[in-house]
């Protein structure tokens, strides 16, 4: 308890404390009747014990000097005064020491048990030391006789005991810095009860009631104060009553009047000591109880569970914050009202039946229930209903969210379980962790047969190495969609499947496994193959008559010796043109079919890019000339040979070029650029034609997509060209970008890495 105090401040405190002690001592000695140094009213003991407890043992000089001066100025004997001062100081130090060690220091004054320890250790034990030393000193110093030892000792000890009991708690409580927050009502109450105490005290200890022993009339006020007004008020009231009582008794009034003033005061002090012990203990008990209540209330208010107490009259007696929230209500609407008022119709519910059972038959109950609120909403609650003396309490936990999650989980699980697609869960090591009905049907294994087994039982040997690659992609956060491979069923049938993998993540977001959706595409493959054959056959069959038309119309157009009229020649040219367009369309369709089926053979070889572009330009010479278009060529001739599939490159360039020609105005300009940078080479085809409308820019690479303005301008296009171009570029590891402004022109830029086109072998079915 030693506080560090700067020297000057410590000195000041010592002086002030010595002075206070001195004054209190002198006042006490005014009432010394058996010996000039022994009194039954000795507040300095209380001051000393409180000071040692609050400020530490270091302030002993103040107590010692204060005690010395008090006695020296009373009896003038140095040695006697020194002896008494020693006793007074030791008393305080030992009291503080014992209380600090055994009762928890000043905290002892906030617990009933601590207070009683203080009473025994400081009040009864340590005060005896002062009495012993004091009385022996007096006798040795010649200020008293041995025959007087008993009465003087008892007087001395009683004075010290009273001082300790009445004054120490007073100082301790008032030294607590905690601010008292009393509302106006409380203040009025305090003023009234104090006035009552003073009036009654005065009446009891004055001649108004002489002849009647009415001291018990003071007790109701003291108890009232102890119950309702706290520790400070209680100790203050006791001191106030003590003063009134001492003054009254000394002036020869009151119920404690005995044959000598000392005996009178002795009886009075005995009474006051008992009142003090009882009242302070009671006040501490009340405060302790309230603190405990507040603590529990805080806990109850802050817990997630709703807590309510319902009285036998079905009125809410206590509700915590959670129940207010759960009940979608306010404290004001609940407290003091019945359940039936707050929740009309509650009597019809299952919950109420259980509440009633608890209330009437005193049977506790646990349940989970859906509760409908007056506003039409509802929630799930977990309830515990317990009978208590006041009625019942209900502990409730809002289970709505959990219930909803459970429902969602159940629903999802049921969707997965009943999906016709096979859905399989696996760990990253490929161990199967879930297996739905679809999987059972597709593979022929039951759940019990595969759970915990490696997924290799489902994979034909030639595909087992795929898993590492898939795992790698999944770990990088990629989804794998429609990956086509093969799987094997329980009875050994190898099927073509399309797999879609998604990562399974744990709560921290780490990927712990994968879910795979498996579709049997054996049928689809068969159909694709038939479609493939059909397209090949159909296009071949169509091409033969078309070739015939082509050849004959060309033969006719070439015959200069026949006498066709100009009109007839024009008709012939139309036939020839339409025929060529039809051949182009059939070739495009065939290409699309091959691209879609993945049978387009791509075989990159070293080739001269500029030569390819030039030869395509040559193919379009007639059209370019007839439309009087200017071709702006911008070639980087350092690009000699690159790795590419000539056929693919020709298809790309001729489609872009034919679009540029088709959508240019007559006499316009078209540009072709070939250039490179460190990593890539580029082929750019631009025109100043009609451009692509903004809202159709995202569709231009789609199959059969043609911009509105393109259809108006020219009815020719197939809507397949850019689709073919984009597909071929995608399959060969290149990329294509375009810029277009309506009525300003369009430019397409194709780029490939300098390493050239990627090889992509089609499945090469005969067609």
């Amino acid at each position: 308890m030693d506080l560090y105090l700067p020297r000057r401040r410590e000195l000041a405190i010592n002086i002030v404390l010595a002075l206070i002690y001195f004054i209190a001592g002198k006042l006490g000695l005014q009432l010394a009747f058996v010996n000039e140094s022994a009194t039954v009213v000795w507040p300095p003991t209380g001051i000393a014990i409180a000071s040692f407890l609050l400020l530490g043992y270091r302030i002993w000089p103040a107590i010692f000097i204060g005690a010395f001066l008090t006695n020296f100025t009373t009896n003038g004997a140095v040695l006697i005064s020194l002896g008494i001062a020693l006793g007074n100081t030791l008393e305080g130090i030992i009291a503080a020491l014992l209380v600090n060690k055994l009762a928890g220091g000043k905290e002892a004054f906030y617990k009933v048990s601590g207070y009683f320890k203080f009473f025994l250790l400081a009040g009864v034990l340590s005060t005896a030391i002062s009495a012993d030393i004091g009385v022996i000193t007096l006798i040795l110093g010649g200020a008293a006789n041995w025959s007087e030892f008993g009465p003087i000792w008892l007087t001395w000890w009683t004075g010290d005991l009273s001082g300790a009991l009445i004054v120490t708690p007073f100082i301790i409580y008032w030294s607590n810095r905690k601010y008292i927050q009393w509302g106006p009502k409380k203040i009025v109450e305090a003023v009234i009860v104090f006035l009552a105490l003073i009036i009654v005290g005065y009446a009891v200890f004055s001649n108004l009631t002489s002849g009647y022993s009415l001291v018990f009339l003071c007790l109701p006020m003291i108890i009232w104060i102890a119950f309702r007004l706290g520790l400070r008020a209680t100790t203050t009231s006791i001191i106030a009553l003590s003063i009134i009582a001492i003054v009254g008794t000394l002036s020869g009034q009151g119920p404690f009047l005995r044959d000598t003033p000392n005996r009178s005061l002795f009886s009075l002090q005995a009474f006051m000591d008992i009142v003090a012990i009882s009242a302070v203990a009671l006040a501490i008990a009340v405060v302790e109880r309230r603190r405990l209540d507040e603590r529990f209330e805080r806990v109850i208010d802050n817990m997630i569970e709703g807590f309510q107490i319902i009285g036998f009259d079905w009125k809410y007696q206590y509700v915590n914050d959670s129940i207010v929230k759960q009940g979608k209500s306010t404290r004001e609407k609940l407290l003091g009202h019945t359940m039936m008022e707050v929740y009309p119709g509650i009597e019809e519910t299952e919950v109420f039946a259980q509440l009633k059972r608890a209330m009437v038959e005193r049977i506790p109950h646990k349940m989970e229930t859906e509760f409908k609120f007056p506003d039409g909403s509802s929630g799930w609650f977990e309830l515990r209903i317990e009978p208590i003396p006041e009625g019942i309490f209900i502990l409730s936990l809002d289970a709505t969210e959990r219930k909803r999650q459970q429902e969602t989980l159940k629903r999802t699980a049921s969707i997965v379980e009943n999906a016709t697609e096979a859905i399989i869960g696996k760990t990253l090591d490929g161990i199967i962790t879930s297996w739905n009905k679809g999987a059972e049907e597709l593979y022929g294994y039951t759940e019990e047969e595969v759970l915990g087994k490696p997924n290799t039982i489902l994979i034909p040997p030639e595909h087992t190495d795929e898993w590492e690659g898939i795992k790698g992609k999944l770990l990088q956060g990629e989804d794998i969609k429609n990956f086509e491979t093969q799987r094997i069923t329980k009875n050994g049938r190898v099927m073509d499947v399309s797999m879609t993998y998604s990562p399974i993540k744990d709560e921290s977001g780490a990927i712990t496994g994968t879910s795979a959706i498996v579709r049997d595409i054996t049928e689809k493959k068969k159909i694709d193959s038939m479609k493939n054959e059909f397209v090949a056959l159909a296009s071949h069959q169509l091409k033969t008559p078309l070739t015939s038309i082509k050849w004959y119309s060309e033969l006719l157009l070439k015959k200069t010796d026949t006498n066709f009229s100009e009109k007839q020649l024009q008709y012939l040219r139309e036939i020839h043109k339409s025929n060529k367009r039809m051949i182009y369309l059939i070739n495009a369709l065939l290409n699309v079919s091959r691209i879609d089926l993945g049978t387009f053979i791509i075989d990159p070889k070293e080739a001269n890019l500029i030569e390819i572009v030039e030869s395509v330009l040559e193919d379009f010479k007639v059209q370019i000339d007839s439309r009087n278009l200017t071709i702006e060529k911008n070639f980087d001739y350092s690009i000699q040979s690159v790795i590419l599939d000539i056929n693919v490159m020709r298809i790309i360039v001729s489609n872009l070029l034919s679009n540029a020609i088709r959508y240019s105005e007559d006499n316009g300009t078209i540009g072709i650029e070939i250039r490179r940078d460190e990593q890539s080479f580029f082929v750019k085809v631009w025109d100043r034609g009609i451009g692509i409308p903004n809202h159709q820019k995202d569709k231009i690479f789609k199959k059969f997509s043609r911009a509105d303005n393109a259809m108006v301008k020219n009815t020719d296009g197939s809507g397949l060209g850019l689709y073919i171009v984009k597909s071929l570029i995608d399959q060969t590891g290149g990329s294509i970008n375009f810029e277009s402004e309506e009525n300003q022109g369009t430019s397409f830029t194709v780029s490939y890495p300098m390493s050239g086109m990627k090889e992509k072998e089609g499945s090469g079915q005969p067609n």
Binding site: H540, T544, S548, K550, I601, P766
Partner: protein
């Protein structure tokens, strides 16, 4: 179209009458002596009988297709093995059917819808020049 006293003989094996006629007309006007065979079987017989200077061969034909006929022809050491053959088809050159056969022997390849009768004549002339 110079008149040649000893015209080169061309065998056209083509099941489509219309195409065959166009070729016959075109080639004859270029001064070639043209025979037409309607299927692989007939073509095979004519080839071995007449030993033409150039054979123009369709691929997809009834009875015996062009590739089978060509394989048979190449078995014939006396004439067929080194006969000059121009495959004329609407199948692409990279088609498996075609690539199997075409490799070593003197064989040429044209796609019907991409050439015209003049182009065929030019190819025949080119082949004969070799």
């Amino acid at each position: 179209m110079e008149e040649n006293t000893n015209p080169k003989r061309v065998l056209v094996i083509e099941d489509d009458q219309s195409l065959a006629t166009a070729m016959k007309d075109g080639l004859e006007s270029s001064g070639y002596n043209v025979t037409i065979a309607g299927d692989g079987d007939e073509g095979f017989r004519f080839a071995l009988e007449q030993k033409p200077d150039v054979i123009i061969l369709d691929v997809l034909m009834p009875k015996v297709d062009g590739m089978t006929m060509l394989k048979g022809l190449r078995q014939d050491e006396a004439y067929g093995k080194n006969a000059k053959v121009i495959i004329l088809s609407n199948l692409d050159a990279d088609d498996k059917i075609v690539t199997d056969v075409v490799e070593t022997q003197p064989t040429y390849y044209l796609i019907k819808s991409e050439v015209n009768v003049d182009g065929i004549s030019a190819k025949v002339k080119e082949v004969l020049g070799n």
